[in-house]
């Protein structure tokens, strides 16, 4: 079923994104800075022949950026015709998470990450935060933020 997820980590926290929303995962190569782009957009890269924004999830979630290393990956997600790349610390796993095991986010989880969460799942003792891709890609609040 559509219970498959790609897992990646950002600052020691594991996140999951529905695999049907993920086009592919790649190595991060040179990201070209775009002048006047939103703060958390590192820039653009080529992916499968198209120019794709590279969103730094560390920055998006309010953390400090770190240099790209051997484990850094670009998770390219697709939604409503848009392709956007998410820069994460590591991305490798592909798991099945039955929908019954996903619980709505707790009240306490507010702040920047809270808004992008669809739910939380626990697999083998590990907590996985399931992300809402549409919210992640949303640019409306960006515009509001800038003004």
């Amino acid at each position: 079923m559509k219970d498959n997820y790609i897992l990646f980590t950002v600052v020691d926290t594991t996140y999951g994104v529905a695999s049907q929303d993920v086009a592919h995962v790649e190595l991060v190569e040179d990201v070209t800075r775009v002048p006047n782009a939103p703060q958390h957009v590192d820039g653009v890269v080529f992916s499968r022949g198209a120019v794709v924004p590279a969103v730094n999830l560390r920055a998006r979630f309010g953390f400090e950026r770190v240099p790209v290393d051997a484990r850094t990956r670009l998770v390219v997600v697709q939604r409503e015709g848009r392709s956007v790349g998410l820069i994460v610390d590591a991305a490798r796993e592909f798991v099945t998470i039955p929908s019954e095991t996903i619980h709505p986010p707790a009240e306490g989880l507010t702040g920047t990450t809270g808004k992008y969460l669809r739910g939380v799942a626990t697999i083998g003792g590990r907590m996985i935060l399931i992300l809402d891709v549409t919210e992640l890609l949303n640019t409306n609040e960006l515009a509001a933020q800038e003004k």
Partner: protein, 652 residues
């Protein structure tokens, strides 16, 4: 006064480009014919093919003689002689003979290329030797009017078609050449001869075999063409053999025009400008909609939309003119495969499909080397030696397939082999050795390709000549990406490997000047730049809250791109400035360095997250990195609006 010989030299020098172009056409034909040739076929090489090859080498010989390229002339002469012997059935085509033809053709290409590039010509003796071995001793060169009448199955009904030329018909474009072309389109010409009628007029009689019905021929009556069906056993027209069954050479006087690619590019640029102007017109019209009576507005709108549609069609039409057969790339491969297979001691069969798929001429030139590299890779690293193949139950001869197809907006090129597949474990080990973190799980698709293309990666000795000078997968992928395409890899251990290249059918290409600011590279479309000048830094003056620079006796507002983009400019005594716009709105935009001017393929940047005023798109200069394309006029306008607004705010 110049000697006659010198005058002749100057005269010839003016035709050298024609020489190269015409030889190129002949060589393309030769490659096509040879790549289809199969010496094992029961009847040997078809008479039509031998004839076409003969003519092609004969033409190259004559032309080379005219421009005094002795090596090319001599080599072509030997090729022609061998083909004359084949034509006269003094010998038949063997595998060795085909090799000699193929080798000779490659060498001929290199000799001509060497002349073009001004490098030293390769030695031709070995090729001539190879041809001599398969030829029979040449008797005195007989003046050739030998023709072979091919005995082929009749194709439908035989018609006798008589064409009477006249000045009036010629004025309408109905000439004997046109008539002949029409006939080849509807059937096969088995005879053609001129005749003198009783009144002393000249007519042409063709015998055509066709499955078309009488109505086709009747419709031509107004063009001076009279057709009658022939009885089953009518006498043949004396003297003339069947036209080559392979569709003849494209060199007859022609429905074809040779076009300079530069002119096509110019046309495309003009169309691009038209598109922009029409868009601006659309915007202006939208603004005045409120003031125009509804009925008239509708008409205006309709016309505007029609224009948009027509421009789109025009653009597509011009783009189609640039399309050529992908066979131009594919037909060089049999030569490469034969050489490589022999060198590496493998048996390889090459199957080609989709040669008629059309792609943009620009793409053909850029894809030649990448495809060559993939083919070399497949033969040298993919296909195993015969013993290994036998051991794993495969056919001793490896199979390499090259195919092309057009699917919607894309052209796909596939290079596949049934060899050993990529050794993923070795790749993983190597990746870790050069510092890329890879997990234990399956390594495939994009991730595998990324690693193969990573800098520093190569599982073979770079001294391995057969791997193509250690060029590397990265170069292949970059070339594909630079054109807006995608390279994918599928491989199964023990079964084989498949590379798929997908390219957009149409490209937006433009000339751009590459410059850098604050350490970042940008591309500026040439059409937007009036001039590029150097300005001493100290001649810049500050005026209120902007800067001005001297220009042609006056001044020009100066904008520093670094500050617009929030970058740190490299300090220097000279500013490199693009002069943009004209008249009152002219502006100078300063950058750190101006690098070079080149063609770029324009890629769109549509996502809202990266839409930035003044950035009109992106391009790849060949290393896989995104380079932004700037609209300096817009950037300048925005900057001046911003500073005007700021001046207002600070109450200046």
């Amino acid at each position: 006064m110049a000697s006659p010989e010198q005058g002749a030299d100057d005269f010839l020098a003016g035709f050298i480009d024609d020489y190269y172009a015409e030889c190129d056409e002949h060589l393309t034909t030769i490659r096509r014919l040879l790549s289809d040739a199969n010496p094992a076929a029961a009847r040997g090489m078809p008479a039509g093919t031998i004839e076409e090859l003969f003519r092609a080498f004969h033409s190259i010989k004559g032309l080379s003689g005219m421009v005094e390229l002795r090596d090319a002339e001599l080599l072509a002469h030997h090729m022609e002689s061998y083909l004359r012997q084949l034509r006269a059935r003094e010998t038949v085509l063997s595998s060795q003979g085909l090799d000699a033809l193929i080798g000779g053709t490659s060498l001929l290409e290199r000799v001509i290329a060497a002349h073009r590039e001004g490098t030293s010509s390769p030695v031709i003796a070995p090729a001539i030797e190879a041809l001599a071995i398969v030829s029979v001793p040449d008797l005195t060169g007989r003046p050739g009017t030998e023709r072979e009448t091919s005995i082929e199955q009749p194709l439908g009904t035989a018609w006798s078609v008589v064409f009477t030329p006249s000045a009036a018909l010629a004025a309408r474009g109905v000439t004997v050449d046109r008539v002949r072309t029409r006939l080849t389109e509807i059937g096969r010409i088995t005879g053609a001869a001129p005749r003198v009628d009783d009144a002393g007029g000249i007519t042409f009689e063709f015998v055509v075999e066709s499955v078309q019905d009488a109505s086709v021929f009747e419709s031509w009556a107004n063009d001076g063409i009279v057709s009658t069906q022939r009885a089953a056993h009518s006498p043949e027209i004396a003297g003339h053999a069947a036209e080559p069954a392979t569709g003849g050479s494209a060199l007859t006087s022609s429905h074809f025009v040779r076009v300079d690619l530069g002119r096509l590019d110019e046309l495309m640029r003009m169309i691009g400008d038209l598109v922009i102007t029409r868009a601006r017109l659309g915007e202006s019209l939208a603004k005045i909609e409120a003031r125009v009576p509804a009925v008239e507005w509708r008409t205006v709108q309709e016309n505007s939309h029609s224009m948009e549609r027509q421009l789109r069609d025009l653009r597509e039409g011009v783009m189609r003119v640039r399309l050529v057969r992908i066979g131009e790339i594919f037909e060089r491969m049999p030569f490469v495969v034969r050489d490589l297979a022999r060198e590496s001691g493998r048996g390889v069969e090459l199957q080609i499909t989709g040669q008629e798929t059309e792609i943009d001429k620009y793409l053909v030139e850029r894809m030649m080397d990448p495809v060559l590299h993939l083919v070399r890779n497949a033969v040298s690293h993919g296909i195993e030696p015969a013993a290994a193949r036998r051991a794993s139950g495969k056919d001793e001869t490896g199979l390499l397939t090259l195919s092309a197809a057009s699917v919607g907006d894309l052209v796909t090129i596939e290079v596949a082999d049934d060899g050993r597949g990529v050794d993923v474990d070795a790749v993983r080990k190597r990746a870790r050795a050069i510092g890329i973190a890879v997990d234990e799980g399956p390594l495939e698709g994009r991730e595998l390709l990324d690693i193969l293309c990573a800098p520093g990666f190569s599982t073979r000795d770079t001294a391995d000549r057969a791997a193509g000078r250690g060029v590397g997968m990265a170069v292949v992928r970059n070339a594909v990406q630079e054109l807006g395409g995608v390279l994918t890899l599928d491989t199964v251990r023990g079964q084989g490997t498949r590379f798929l290249i997908e390219l957009p059918l149409t490209l937006a290409i433009t000339d751009a000047i590459i410059a850098s600011v604050g350490g970042q590279i940008f591309a500026v479309p040439q059409s937007s730049v009036r001039e590029v000048i150097d300005v001493p830094a100290e001649s810049v003056r500050a005026l209120e809250n902007h800067e001005i620079m001297p220009y042609r006796g006056g001044v020009l507002p100066l904008l520093r791109l670094a500050s617009v983009f929030g970058l740190i400019a490299r300090p220097g005594r000279t500013l490199h400035v693009f002069v943009i716009g004209s008249g009152a709105s002219a502006v100078g935009v300063a950058v750190d360095r101006i690098h070079t001017q080149r063609e770029i393929v324009v890629r769109t940047m549509t996502d809202p997250l990266i839409r930035s005023e003044g950035i009109t798109g992106a391009t790849d200069l060949g290393d896989g990195r995104v380079v932004l394309i700037l609209d300096l006029l817009r950037t300048a306008r925005l900057a001046s609006e911003a500073s005007a607004a700021q001046a207002l705010r600070s109450g200046a």
